[in-house]
């Protein structure tokens, strides 16, 4: 009995601590900055005003569009490249391919901080001949992050459960190898794609360091960059900042909650 009481009270405290910053964020977005500093924890009626002020002080709409473009393109390309590779490694298994796979996995150990400087110089060089994919372009944000060993690993693990006999049937029906992939594999692996899409979209939507390095002009800003600038201002308007954070968090939170089941299933699949 004592154990039960302890369980419930401990879990309740942890849950409250986990939720509190969210509640504070949402409540603060509806209050005046003065009330937020006074520690007001009740919802107020200033959300519309905060939202208008936000639109006046920063270019949140272009930032949302930029972030959206980057995240959607990254997600589509990532899923395509990683699933092709994961499928290739598992369906056309060979010793040599396994070795390549292990070498590719090593890239997971490389911290991004170590890649930042050489990548910046690389894109600086590209800028001179092809400015449309050089520094300060969306392409420069997307290209280095679009292929991750983690996602290849993830697709390979999931492909282990894929019934490969169907492919034989597809070949007999006259499908090409690529046809088998797009007509049979992709539709069967919907859950895996969904989980991978959530992971990739959230990572891309929230990424900060590389966009901070490579995007320079204000019109190319992404949402995290904009929030970081807002958050470091000397006379912060808390209501406005919290409104911006609510707007920035909503897309990722929304995608997460409608696809929560796939996400958990996908994470578990990657563990097995």
């Amino acid at each position: 009995m004592i154990k039960k009481i302890f369980s419930y009270s401990f879990l309740t405290i942890v849950s409250i601590v986990s939720i509190f910053p969210f509640l504070w964020m949402i409540v603060s977005a509806t209050n005046k900055s003065v009330d937020v500093t006074k520690g007001r924890l009740l919802p107020g009626g200033h959300f519309v005003e905060n939202f208008k002020n936000l639109l006046d002080t920063v270019d949140i709409i272009p930032a949302l569009i930029n972030s959206g473009k980057i995240s959607v393109i990254t997600t589509v390309l990532s899923l395509l490249i990683a699933s092709l590779a994961g499928y290739g490694f598992e369906v056309y298994k060979s010793k040599a391919k396994d070795m390549v796979f292990n070498i590719l996995l090593l890239s997971m150990m490389i911290p991004f901080a170590a890649l930042m400087v050489p990548l910046f110089r690389m894109f600086g060089m590209i800028s001179q001949s092809a400015p449309y994919i050089g520094i300060d372009t969306i392409a420069a944000v997307i290209l280095p992050t679009v292929t991750t060993a983690f996602l290849i690993f993830f697709f390979r693990q999931s492909t282990k459960m894929f019934p490969k006999d169907i492919l034989e049937a597809g070949r007999i029906d006259g499908l090409s190898e690529l046809g088998c992939f797009f007509r049979i594999y992709v539709p069967t692996m919907k859950t895996t794609y969904a989980a991978a899409a959530i992971i990739t979209f959230m990572a891309s939507w929230n990424s900060y360091l590389w966009p901070l390095v490579v995007l320079q002009s204000p019109e190319n800003q992404t949402v995290p960059l904009l929030i970081s600038v807002l958050g470091s201002s000397y006379s912060p308007d808390f209501g406005v900042i919290m409104t911006a954070i609510v707007i920035a968090t909503l897309p990722a939170a929304f995608i997460f909650f409608i696809m929560q089941k796939h996400f958990v299933a996908g994470m578990m699949g990657s563990v097995k």
Partner: protein, 307 residues
Amino acid sequence: MIPARTNQDIQTARTSRSLRTKNTTIGWSFITIAAAMICLFYFYPMVQAFILSLQSGTGTNLTFVGFDNYIRLFKDPTFLTTVKNTVIYLIIQVPVMILLALFISVLLNDKTLKLKGVFRTAIFLPCVTSLVAYSVIFKYLFGSDGIINLFLLKISIISEPIQWLTDPFWAKIAIIAAITWRWTGYNMIFYLSALQNVDQSIYEAAKMDGASSIQTFFKITVPMLKPIILFTSITSTIGTLQLFDEVMNITQGGPGNATMTISQYIYNLSFKYTPDFGYAATVSYAIVIMIVIFSIIQFKVAGDKND
């Protein structure tokens, strides 16, 4: 019927032979794009970083200096401070978070527990936030007149506000608390899914043998989950060694350099101070080496318990 079957057999034999040769080329072509991209954006830059680390100078005026940069590392007080800070975050935050996540998942794994879904969703919720967004929120929560101080003053735990962000000690605590808030639920999901695969009869047997809850936790749960604990501790270690977003947005490395991490130092060396890409690349190799060392230690520690 009979000739037809023979025909088919011959055909299968032929296709399987041609398939094998076709497989090698087609199989490789499935992998090509991914392999090329990883070589281009991971391995090639690492080679470039190494070449850069042997050079010094500002901006594009780089001259070859051999291993001077590596010697400079050990005499650079800022670098040593950032290493110390990063290691402090690592050895305090990772174990605290993993134990907490394990403990929560054991409580949640109780079959008779009600409201399980509510607790799980609530504790996982922090993972939905972006690193920048939650950092900004925590910066204000920890402000000297922020909610946390107001609360602590109200319940009379403290008599005057704690200078969370301007005191070198408390600033580190604030960063550690923030990271723990963000990642505990994430690790919990891994443990919960692993616990569901553990045979319940082991626990019943332990109960019959009179094992206490604490004994069951350390003698059964932890060893059973060892592979997944190893996985999460390595990913957390790699994550903490590259810590950037949080520190940049909560304290900006301050007060002084009291909370600055190695990643942030690399950023400052390349893009904030007069750019010294050569030395920045040297510092980045220090992180790579630390990741390798800590991963080996963790494998060793996990391996020893096996015997």
